[in-house]
């Protein structure tokens, strides 16, 4: 299964764009890319090296580290050669935004909407950037590390009544 193709691709892309290896990703082999170059690198991967399938678009939040705060991970697969490669894009926290990949891969549409919804990463040029998983008037971006988990306080016997007063109970008629 064309491991040589993967090695050749990896070396060529690394030298052409001056990229570094990623020290975190164990599999698939990953390169770190600057935010401005991501569309160019993806285009080269798709057109020249045959990586025609986008299998992953996700992000990680490294708060309280501010620079970089987010890493956006793109995963590409080549059907003809059966190899996978990934790219990681570090983003700072003041204005996390990237150019959209929707022009190259239509399947990136909802992934980018999810990243906007969950992390607050804006994608310029996206056709329809609105919330996808949370209600449309939700405030905040839930998967960021400074967003609270929002759990329910357990009711023991000593605080049962005071929590019961605060809780909302469903009634037969809307109050």
């Amino acid at each position: 299964m064309s491991e040589e193709h993967l090695k050749i691709t990896y070396k060529t892309i690394k030298e052409r764009f001056g990229l570094h290896d990623s020290d975190i990703m164990k599999y698939p082999p990953t390169l770190m890319v600057e935010p401005e170059k991501i569309v160019e690198v993806s285009q080269v991967l798709r057109d020249e090296f045959g990586f025609n399938f986008l299998f992953e678009l996700t992000a990680v939040d490294y708060w309280p580290e501010e620079e970089p705060r987010f890493h956006v991970i793109y995963g590409f697969y080549s059907h003809a050669n059966n190899v996978r490669i990934a790219l990681r894009v570090p983003l700072n926290s003041d204005q996390p935004s990237l150019h959209t990949l929707e022009g190259l891969y239509k399947g990136a549409n909802w992934h980018e909407r999810e990243l906007w919804d969950m992390f607050g990463i804006k994608f310029e040029g996206h056709s329809d950037l609105r919330r996808i998983l949370m209600p449309h008037d939700w405030e905040g971006h839930p998967l960021r590390k400074d967003y609270p988990l929002g759990y329910e306080e357990p009711q023991y016997t000593f605080n049962y009544d005071e929590i019961d007063k605060r809780k909302h109970h469903g009634r037969y008629e809307e109050a």
């Binding site: 209600p135 329910e152 809780k167 469903g170």
Partner: protein
């Protein structure tokens, strides 16, 4: 007994109004199709041939709330779904009952976080809670029979 003794063999039976109406309500209670998540699959298994729910009067599940009496909330209710749930409950005609099936509907189960209602009784009043993740079809049937027991003991002045 009642007037049967005096009326002879005329084929008259007397029974209290409460008993008659409660018996009629339990014998043909139609649930509304409200399966949300994993518990819905166990509800479908309970409806299928192995654990038959039709023997309890629930021959079919009506998709429209206007044509059903019982809402079995099967699955986790997210914050986006909560207004929809309340609206569907309001559209059920009286008399109506709610069974909260599964851990997620009763108390949010494994998930204690921002996205789920912590128990569906935050928005609708629940009659029977069925525990399990997901509850076995036998447990759901036990919950339904418990509801029938509750309905059989309802009194006239609590009818709506």
């Amino acid at each position: 007994m009642g007037i049967e003794q005096k009326a002879g063999n005329m084929g008259i039976v007397t029974v209290g109004l409460e008993q008659a109406v409660n018996w009629a309500r339990t014998n043909a209670m139609w649930p509304m199709l409200f399966g949300l998540a994993c518990c819905a699959i166990e509800m479908m298994s309970a409806q299928a041939a192995h654990f038959d729910l039709s023997r309890f009067g629930m021959e079919l599940m009506r998709a429209s709330p206007r044509q059903s009496d019982l809402m079995i909330v099967a699955g986790r209710v997210s914050r986006k779904m909560a207004p929809v749930l309340r609206r569907l409950y309001d559209q059920l005609p009286d008399p109506k009952w709610v069974i909260s099936m599964g851990d997620c509907a009763s108390c949010s189960g494994v998930f204690n976080n921002y996205a789920l209602l912590q128990g569906v009784d935050e928005v609708v009043p629940v009659d029977v809670y069925v525990a399990g993740c997901p509850p076995r079809p036998e447990a759901l049937i036990h919950g339904i029979v418990t509801l029938y027991d509750k309905v059989r003991h309802e009194k006239i002045n609590s009818w709506v």
